[in-house]
Symmetry: C2
């Protein structure tokens, strides 16, 4: 990857930490830095920085593996799987050390623009304005944020070793049925999970009390037509794999179904059992 010489990420790569800090102190904007006896500088923040000071702070934060945030008035260009443009407005940009980029407006849970993890972040000055570029390949995608004003730049270093403990997923529902198969129906015997068929992997494969093959499709929440079609594909594939006279039961397990899904179930001779994932 080649960059013009004015791009600060190269400068920052060449700079040692000491000189970076010197640059930081010399910055024109009001600055703040929070140190910690154990971890050193954890956060660095500039307010109303000059473009050059902002560029250096952003590049330094990226190089240090920090979460970098930039708030200010900017335009956003995206080109990749689709193409988008966003006129100037005040937005919050976050660059993560794993290569993800997020552009948030004041509205919505979702970012208005983004880049998934794996991108290379680059920051430089162009015509006196800060430009942040996040690039990736396969697919080729480019996100470019051009700031008219940078009101604040922050870099947050920290540690986070833990993982989310989540309960109430489809896997929990499966566990519940495997531990107590009679919840599904008396005499049901699970034989395999994720059993492969030509149509894909079946959530639970088993037999009912009469020995008939049963395909179980699990959903953690109320389902619509798509889940019924999914179950149908598995049942069709398994019946095609067995002798001509064999029939396979298909059971959808979910808290509830929509009307249309219920009709589809009847049309295709599939069954429904109401079950939810456990609370804890």
């Amino acid at each position: 990857m080649t960059s013009p010489p004015h791009r600060s990420s190269e400068l920052a790569n060449a700079d040692g930490t000491v000189r970076c800090r010197a640059l930081f102190i010399r910055s024109a904007g009001r600055v703040g830095s929070v140190s910690d006896p154990e971890f050193g500088h954890r956060t660095e923040t500039l307010q109303q920085p000059s473009p050059e000071a902002a560029r250096d702070a952003i590049a330094r934060g990226i190089d240090r593996g920090a979460i970098v945030t930039v708030y200010g008035r900017c335009t956003v260009d995206y080109d990749g799987r689709a193409t988008s443009y966003l006129e100037a407005g005040d937005r919050h940009v976050m660059l993560k050390p794993d290569g993800a980029a997020l552009v948030h407006t004041a509205e919505g849970q979702q970012p208005v623009n983004w880049q998934p993890p794996g991108c290379d972040h680059d920051v430089f000055c162009e015509d006196g304005h800060i430009v942040i570029e996040s690039l990736r390949t396969s697919p080729d995608e480019q996100l470019r944020v051009r700031f008219q004003n940078v009101l604040q730049v922050s870099a947050f270093a920290g540690s986070d070793e833990t993982e989310l403990a989540l309960v109430g997923t489809e896997a929990d529902l499966r566990r519940r049925i495997l531990e107590e198969p009679d919840l599904l129906e008396t005499g049901f015997m699970p034989l395999a999970t994720e059993r492969e068929t030509p149509a894909g992997a079946v959530d639970i494969y088993g037999e009912d009390s009469t020995g008939r093959a049963v395909v179980v499709e699990l959903k953690r929440r109320r389902v619509g037509p798509d889940a019924v079609s999914q179950l149908r594909r598995y049942v069709d594939a398994l019946e095609r794999d067995m002798h001509a006279d064999a029939t396979v039961r298909g059971i959808l397990v979910a808290p509830s179904v929509t009307d249309r899904a219920n009709r589809l179930l009847s049309d295709h001779g599939l069954e429904f059992i109401s079950l939810e994932p456990p609370d804890e």
Copy 2:
């Protein structure tokens, strides 16, 4: 909604702006505030604030309709459609004025925890620690972030009047076909978009050069088995609605299909045409 008297959102509601600013100046942490001749205070930032100062700054930011961000070491509890817990780690929390909440770690495009727009944010001190709660009803969901350390609090006020201009969506692909139906096949005549069937709305409904009914399902990207099943549901529903001898053609339009999807298409007598949304 009732809150214990120590919750600062009530205090902040009762406080006038002047007294808020006084609190802000008196805060123990290093502070920064960027003003603008036109908009007044646009950003306010505290570093290493005391719990009380952080609480007041967060509550003030929420009340002002700002984007509020908090960085520090925290645990996260979620309870609603599922249940989750996250042990202590350094994370970036964003509260939006529309009621959305986001908890971001250093990894991933997705927040580790969140709350959709429409929530009520609340902040208070408990045992000397900052707690942020975002609540909503229907469904009942609660997000609780408890900070061990708050390294920085920021509030960003701004304006953003513009909307994203996005090209390359399914709607663009539809437009392309409606403008030049021969792209699909010579003589194809679109008659309706979003035509309702008992199975749902069909992307494009039309007739081929021989007068046969055609259902077109559009996808902006490479598709798998689900899109084929979707098309199949529409074709089935339309055939059921027509006289017994009528047959309906189903055409999937997408850049490409997977092998399994291709097999499904053949099995069900459906067709595929390779087309992409326009670049611009």
